[in-house]
């Protein structure tokens, strides 16, 4: 699964990066972000497009594992 680092990226770049990664590998993507807004936006995008999201916090970093439902 592709890994993407979207830390420090302004809205809506983390979602664009997630979308682009899913286009390359439809199985899913592991994406690291650093703010709550990006978590909400990626989660909403993933659910709207038939994916599920697992969220794991590690200090300031948040890893979202986006996988096909």
């Amino acid at each position: 699964m592709k890994k993407v680092d979207a830390r420090g990226c302004a809205c809506p770049e983390p979602v664009v990066m997630t979308r682009n990664a899913i286009r390359e590998d439809a199985n899913g993507v592991e994406i690291i972000v650093d703010n709550a807004c990006a978590v909400e936006n990626i989660t909403r995008f993933a659910r709207n497009t038939g994916y599920q999201v697992a969220v794991q916090k590690n200090g300031a970093d948040i890893t979202l594992t986006v996988t096909k439902k």
Partner: protein, 352 residues
């Protein structure tokens, strides 16, 4: 629908508070206007000398502090910045100039539409077109590069400056210029404006409400989430104005507006384009500045300077329409936005 509730509530509440502030003295269809209010504040600070638009608007201070306080409470206050600050300053100026050619930010555009001002509909079409250009850039990898963690004082810069400004206005009003006629002389009581701003700032911080984000996300991802907020705002303001007898459908004789369709369209196109490059509309930038985003703080300062230049150089429109200087400025700002777009667009995005 439940997931859309916070943003719908925010849009509705902004509409209600905007109607109340107008009833309490704010200019018509201007319960809130981030661009106009920053412009008025620039005038009061004597950065420009347009005597009709000089007043430190407590709404702006309230929005910044409301967002600041709520982000602290929710542990979302995050001092960060460093994502192309000079470019963002220039984008702030550009968005302000576009807004003052139309006569309103995206928020006031919807408030004007809610009052029956059809010139705002032309502005809305232009705004959507501008957002569309920004979306093309995002799809091609546009990025102003990453932000980095800053210290807490840097992050609190805009909330602290806002508090100091409010205190100085209250304690030493003689230092400031205040309009005695024109839109700058029309305002609700300071406490009401401040309270309205605090509520809107807090709500918008929670819901991520953004006027540009709604259209952008719809175009980018077919995601209507944020757009619900703008729709709720429009519906509430239309109903409110109908009840209050202030709804007047048409192009002519609308308050603090002009009927120059082409320039309404182009002015808001610049605002839409610039807002997408910045990552959010002027309201969203104000809220983010309260959350510790120093890039948004820089953007607000760019808007402040942009407003001063717009009036000092005769770029801002009046009820008579766009000025010659304003029309030239539209071309210049479009070139600036094009340069920013091209120089920051790379398939690798933020990793470039």
């Amino acid at each position: 629908m439940k997931k859309h509730l916070p943003v719908i509530l925010t849009g509705s509440l902004i509409g209600v508070i905007a109607l109340i502030l107008v009833a309490m003295g704010n200019p018509a269809n201007m319960g809130f206007c981030i661009a106009c209010f920053i412009r008025d504040t620039a005038g009061s600070l004597k950065l420009h000398t347009a005597s009709a638009v000089q007043y430190v608007r407590p709404e702006i201070i309230g929005i910044i502090l409301g967002s600041f306080l709520l982000s602290l409470f929710k542990k979302e206050f995050q001092p960060r910045g460093g994502s192309s600050p000079v470019t963002r300053f220039v984008l702030g100026m550009s968005v302000m100039i576009g807004a003052l050619i139309f006569l309103g930010c995206p928020l006031r555009m919807v408030l004007r539409l809610g009052g029956g001002d059809l010139n705002a509909l032309v502005g809305l079409v232009g705004f959507a077109a501008g957002v569309g250009i920004g979306v093309i850039a995002l799809n091609r990898g546009f990025s102003l590069k990453r932000t980095y963690t800053q210290n807490r004082l840097e992050g609190a810069g805009m909330p602290v400056l806002s508090t100091v400004l409010m205190l100085m206005v209250l304690l030493f009003p003689a230092l400031f210029a205040f309009s005695t006629e024109g839109p700058g002389s029309m305002h609700a009581a300071v406490w009401a404006s401040l309270a309205g701003g605090l509520i809107v700032g807090g709500m918008a911080q929670r819901s991520r409400f953004c006027m540009a984000g709604g259209i952008r996300d719809e175009m980018l991802f077919k995601d209507f989430h944020l757009l619900w907020g703008s729709v709720a705002l429009l519906v509430v303001v239309i109903i409110g104005n109908l009840i209050l007898g202030k709804f007047k459908l048409g192009f002519d004789g609308q308050p603090i507006a002009h009927t120059d369709g082409l320039w309404n369209f182009l002015g808001m196109a610049l605002v839409g384009w610039g807002s997408v490059l910045l990552g959010g509309c002027p309201l969203r930038q104000t809220v983010l500045a309260g959350e510790g985003n120093t890039d948004s703080a820089i953007t607000l300062l760019g808007m402040l300077v942009g407003a001063a230049l717009a009036h000092n150089f005769g770029l801002a429109s009046s009820a008579n329409g766009a000025t010659i200087n304003g029309k030239i400025a539209v071309g210049v700002v479009a070139l600036v936005l094009l340069a920013v777009t091209l120089f920051n667009t790379n398939r690798k995005g933020a990793n470039a």
